[in-house]
């Protein structure tokens, strides 16, 4: 067996390495190992779904290495605090079981559920013996279900080789997903948190009506913090590790803001990609592709909905509005001024006849999605400056005050302001040049953000808090949402900013 050689080598190095190896060997024994050495991988990695038990031996015990690529506490954090671990388990709970009865499906097996709540293995030969359904959204879902990288990335004998590889090589040749690329990370997270038709991750109105909690709006930088993160930000890592990950100081100054911008643009794109895929005559109208709250509101008069700027034709269901503010934010930063013909055509069609005609929706949805994806790539490559970040804060205030956002959009805006403003202050602490007003008014801003946090329930049911347990309070907050108060809060935030630079 080719693995014997490294095993003997490892034993002679240290007791610590023995444990590392023990884990890997245990993991590897479940499948036939690739022939040949890891340095000469076959073209393109081989799909193989490992279970968490294959990772826990190293990633659950901490490390004494200097400059570790990771802290080896990842599985512990994930197991103790992260909901993704429970994603499959919740399918056994009464709400999910009831959904199964109504939809006449086995929620523990049906692809429409498991695609997001766990792992769907198409080909049984790709199931490693360590794999367990009950692991939920486990390591391989995000980091890459491929055989080749799992071995070398931790083996002492191969680690040096591994560390010399670029992120691109690790991904393309070994199958380890490059999650440091904000575009890829956002795409991955959005594939469940918005949906991805090609991967079978599609939430439908039937699923909602049967009881699935409403998918909330999604802001990646905030959601990542709340998982909670089991990784360090690039900026928190040592110079040496930064270099290994090809990250410069410019990349790390405003990395969360960048993530926010990229995922903001891509959320819009993912929403429209999903619409494009679902706009087929046999399934259309699929209500879940449109704005939930266009219909799901009480008939209240007077009410803030009636005081809004007229948005499209009354009585027609529009696109979900929550991805718009952050998409706009990206356009503002890249000084995109050309109108979006795809989006305009899409809105016109949805206004023309109720739900539009499926065949008239696909093309404009695709065009607008492509544009968002291009925007996301541009934003992912951008080196953000202090001026950029200040402009973003101003733009968030403008959107909040002028656009009359609904509850989900308001949360996107408030989350974003907190992230961007926080990073600006952190940058100042590291010696970055920040206008004096930002420092002077930081307590005031903090106070308003705290108010927003309570008023809008910005704190996610993170960690092990139950989503269904908080559903009632969340829906009631949505119900009580008052855009006038939101606008007033942002007027205060705007007043606390230095004057807009451009």
């Amino acid at each position: 067996m080719p693995s014997k050689q490294p095993r003997i080598a490892a034993l002679t190095v240290s007791v610590w390495a023995f444990f590392v190896l023990g884990g890997f060997l245990a993991a590897w024994h479940g499948s036939s190992l690739p022939q040949g050495r890891a340095q000469e991988p076959r073209p393109g990695p081989t799909k193989l779904y490992f279970g968490v038990s294959a990772c826990v031996d190293c990633h659950g015990k901490g490390t004494r290495l200097e400059d570790p690529l990771c802290r080896c506490t990842e599985v512990s954090i994930w197991e103790e605090k992260d909901k993704h671990k429970d994603a499959y388990k919740v399918l056994s709970e009464p709400l999910a079981q009831r959904m199964g009865e109504l939809l006449k499906i086995d929620v523990l097996k049906d692809k429409s559920c498991v695609s997001c709540h766990g792992v769907v293995i198409q080909d049984e030969s790709q199931r490693h013996r360590s794999f367990k359904e009950s692991d939920g959204v486990s390591c391989v879902v995000c980091h890459g279900p491929y055989r080749e990288w799992v071995g070398p990335h931790g083996l002492e004998t191969e680690r040096d080789m591994w560390r010399q590889l670029t992120r691109k090589e690790k991904e393309e040749r070994y199958g380890m997903t490059d999650l440091w690329d904000p575009f890829k990370r956002a795409q991955l997270c959005l594939s469940c948190h918005v949906g991805n038709a090609a991967e079978g991750k599609v939430i439908t109105h039937d699923m909602y009506a049967a009881g699935h909690p409403p998918l909330p709006s999604f802001e990646l930088a905030t959601f990542s913090e709340e998982m909670p993160r089991h990784w360090q930000l690039l900026g928190e890592k040592s110079q040496k590790v930064k270099a290994l990950l090809q990250a410069t100081a410019d990349d790390t100054r405003f990395e969360r803001t960048q993530l926010l911008l990229v995922s903001g643009a891509l959320a819009h794109g993912s929403t429209l990609r999903l619409l494009e895929a679902e706009a087929v005559e046999a399934r259309w109208p699929e209500f879940a592709r449109l704005d939930c709250y266009a219909c799901h509101h009480d008939l209240q008069s007077p009410g803030w909905r009636q005081d809004r700027k007229v948005q499209g034709k009354p009585g027609r269901a529009p696109l979900a509005s929550w991805p718009m503010p952050l998409h706009k934010l990206g356009e503002r930063l890249t000084l995109t001024r050309e109108p979006d013909p795809g989006l305009t055509a899409l809105r016109t069609e949805l206004d023309r006849v109720p739900f539009g005609k499926a065949s008239n929706l696909r093309e404009p949805a695709r065009k607008s999605a492509e544009r968002s994806e291009a925007l996301a790539r541009t934003l992912a490559a951008r080196k953000l400056t202090t001026a950029d970040v200040l402009a973003l804060l101003h733009e968030l205030c403008r959107i909040a005050i002028e656009d009359g956002p609904d509850y989900d959009s308001a949360r996107q805006i408030a989350w974003s302001f907190a992230i961007v403003h926080g990073e600006l202050l952190a940058d100042a602490q590291r010696g970055g040049q920040v206008p004096e007003a930002v420092l002077r008014n930081q307590d005031q801003v903090q106070r308003v953000l705290e108010e927003l946090k309570t008023g809008l329930r910005l704190k996610l049911p993170s960690g092990k808090e139950s989503i269904t347990g908080q559903l009632d309070a969340n829906l009631k907050t949505l119900y009580r949402y008052d855009p006038a108060r939101f606008r007033a809060a942002f007027a205060q935030l705007k007043a606390a900013l230095p004057p807009a630079g451009r």
Binding site: L102, A210, D298, Q300, K313, P314, R316
Partner: protein, 395 residues
């Protein structure tokens, strides 16, 4: 005949104010939301109900005073042929048909009266009067017409005593005729809407055909109310028209599948408009047949009681599954309760039925500032009073 008709109408009747409301801020907002530049008081879509269902014919004629709103001739018919004779003793000797030839609408006939009201209060394929979802979304109130209860609340400019002398079963008869006429009118309107939509002249699906509160409910109460399946209905799909057909009986010998055909077609939002139009027309004819079969002889107390038992026969999970059906059950029971009262119901029973009805009514009202139930209609609140009513009538 009392001479105060005009006085009663002008001072108490909303119809007299129907044109004036077109100048209200609400009317202005509706037009603005619709993206229409014509003001409401000049828009024939509005005037067809707010002045006269025959506005298209009447417009421009000398003597038409828009400010009168829904004026005498709007209901009684164009008066040129009978104005100078209808108060003469000889008028009473003329048959209804002969009067109709002169343009006079014999509103004493409850079917004629219900038809007249329904043209505006339900909508009309004949005149293209349609409060559709576009208009409602722009700010117009939803229409949900129930003839007997509208009449009961109407500030009459005629004698109720005379009416009840003509029809001792008046309340029950008005209810029955009103149900059939409204449902037929609604089906005709559906056929018209579908037909128009097939020519791209009207929106489709037409949401005014569906249960408003199935969609228009905040999700506030979602977490503490389990999802329940209404028999025959998929979750997540809108349900068709509980209002007009919740209680309408089938005629003897009618193929009951016909109404199910419409229901099935309408539960598919992508249904072919022409098929819908055809199926709706067939059902409408069935109802017209049933309407013509209504016996001219007054209903006896035992027949009214039987009717009341029939409208409370369904179990709560069907009867009060949604607001529209629950409200129709309440309104039916109220009208028939009144009829039984007129025909001599024992006082003790009257008191207990009234209590049950009032308890049911309270579960159906909307809070101030709302045009629908908050957080969706809750059938579990309406079920106990309905069940109480049912048990009293089915000992």
């Amino acid at each position: 005949m009392p001479r105060g008709e005009y006085g009663a109408w002008v001072s108490h009747d909303k119809h007299a104010n129907a044109f004036a409301v077109l100048f209200d801020p609400r009317s202005q907002r509706i037009q603005r939301n619709r993206g229409v530049s014509v003001p409401a008081h000049e828009d024939s879509l509005c005037l067809k109900c707010h002045v006269s269902q025959d506005y298209e014919r009447e417009r421009g004629q000398p003597g038409l005073e828009l400010a009168d709103g829904v004026h005498c001739e709007a209901c009684h018919g164009p008066a040129a042929g009978w104005l100078s004779t209808h108060y003469l003793p000889s008028w009473r000797t003329i048959s209804d048909d002969a009067k109709a030839v002169l343009g006079f609408r014999p509103l004493k006939d409850l079917t004629v009266r219900a038809n007249t009201c329904a043209e505006c209060h339900v909508g009309s394929n004949r005149t293209g009067t349609d409060v559709n979802h576009d208009l409602i979304a722009a700010g117009h109130p939803r229409l949900n017409f129930e003839f007997a209860n509208y009449l009961a609340n109407y500030p009459r400019h005629w004698s109720l005593t005379a009416e009840k002398q003509r029809h001792p079963d008046f309340e029950a008869r008005a209810w029955l005729i009103g149900q059939l006429v409204s449902a037929r009118q609604a089906l005709d309107l559906l056929a018209w809407r579908a037909e128009q939509a097939s020519q791209n002249k009207a929106p489709w699906p037409e949401f005014a055909e569906y249960d408003c509160y199935a969609c228009h409910r905040s999700l506030k109460g979602l977490a503490d109310r389990p999802v329940t399946l209404v028999p025959g209905r998929m979750t997540g799909k809108p349900a068709w028209n509980a209002w007009y057909l919740a209680l309408v009986p089938h005629s003897p010998g009618e193929n009951v599948e016909r109404r199910d055909t419409v229901r099935k077609l309408m539960s598919n939002l992508a249904a072919d408009e022409k098929q819908v139009a055809e199926a709706a027309r067939v059902c409408s004819k069935d109802l017209q047949t049933l309407l013509q079969q209504i016996d001219a002889r007054p209903l006896r107390p035992d027949q009214v009681r039987e009717l009341l038992q029939r409208v409370t026969a369904s179990p709560p999970e069907e009867a009060v599954a949604n607001w529209d059906s629950a409200a129709q059950h309440y309104l039916a029971a109220t009208a028939l309760y009144q009829a039984l009262g007129d025909l001599g119901m024992p006082k003790q029973e009257r008191v207990s039925l009234r209590q049950a009805l009032e308890a049911l009514r309270q579960t159906l009202t909307f809070p101030k500032g709302h045009d629908g139930p908050v957080g969706g209609f809750d059938p579990t609140r309406a079920a106990p009073p309905y069940q109480q009513l049912r048990l009293q009538l089915h000992p």
